[in-house]
Symmetry: C2
Subunit: 197 residues, 2 copies
């Protein structure tokens, strides 16, 4: 390995989900096996960095002041607002087609242990949106873990003076899953979330 | 999603081992959650592209004409040459410490079905190396699959006029593995490779 190779490997390793071995494989791909791809990737990063920004209203990706969802007059305007941790969560819900309202992307979740407090989340206009957009239901689509729980508590406290119903997405067995192969945490969630049948 | 976002996602998806969802996650990381990383990664790609090249002798990564292994006078010079598919294979063998000789990196394997013939492999100086470096044993460290087999056949034919012993690395149970959890292909390899005990 060479210094420039190792520097690239180190930067690739910072990408989410990329370990040392994957980064090594990617660097070899970019430098030796497919050198054209290196220039194209570098150009795509520069091009996207110049254009892509965070929607000033909801935090989704956009190339204008506000994103296509916030600007879409055909979205469901019955007063629901769905809070997600990441833009990728928003994209996953959009792909499911299960929700047609608007979103608010936090770009993170509360994690005191990692020093991530409310000031690190995209919350500057959150209370203003609740009031100005006449939100009736705040749907918390946050992870089923301790930090997700803490974030839900915090947001519920934030809006408690408003006449907003706060709901949290269901937890339990994933679609198509059987009890046999579910892990203990999922089974606990599923039992806690049981409903009259 | 926006056009520039999708263009970046598409380029990231071309990296080895990266699927659509991982590429989306990486693009969000680079553009929204950690924008400093985007510039650093783009710079590292440009920096490495300008410096890193393929060793003119063996195909390993280097920043000079020849790589540190080819230039290292302390390597084992007893006449062995180890042929690998990728630079990452070379790195894996180096990390194992199991081999101290020199390498030849093909940057691929024969795959007629994908149109990859001998002209696409790093073979231009291969026969010259065998003769000039006085190779006595050619160790084929190529994959245990159909293309690996085809490549071994081809290389064996190439060197058959030389007084070179051609060997291929062993196949069978990985270190620490039990027969119970081995797949059928591995068990077949292991039985075919059985040795007197």
């Amino acid at each position: 390995m060479t210094p420039a190779f190792e520097a690239l490997q180190k930067e690739l390793k910072r990408l989410p989900g990329v370990g040392l071995r994957s980064a090594e494989r990617m660097a070899i791909h970019l430098l030796l096996e497919n050198p054209g791809a290196a220039q194209t990737l570098s150009d795509a990063i520069t091009f996207a960095r110049e254009r892509v920004r965070s929607c000033s209203n909801c935090g989704n990706v956009c190339e204008e002041e506000r994103c296509s969802i916030c600007e879409d007059s055909r979205r469901d305007d019955s007063g629901s607002l769905c809070v997600v941790e990441h833009v990728s969560d928003l994209m996953a819900i959009e792909k499911s087609g299960a929700y047609r309202g608007r979103y608010h992307v936090l770009h993170g979740k509360l994690s005191p242990i990692n020093g991530i407090g409310p000031d690190r989340l995209n919350l500057s206009n959150f209370e203003a949106r609740i009031a100005e957009e006449g939100v009736k239901e705040l749907i918390l689509a946050l992870p089923n873990d301790v930090e997700g729980e803490a974030t839900c508590h915090y947001l519920t406290d934030l809006v408690k003076t408003e006449s907003v119903e706060v709901t949290r997405i269901g937890f339990g067995l994933p679609s198509g899953a059987s009890v046999l192969y579910a892990d203990s945490g999922t089974l606990k969630s599923a039992l806690d979330a049981r409903q009259r049948y």
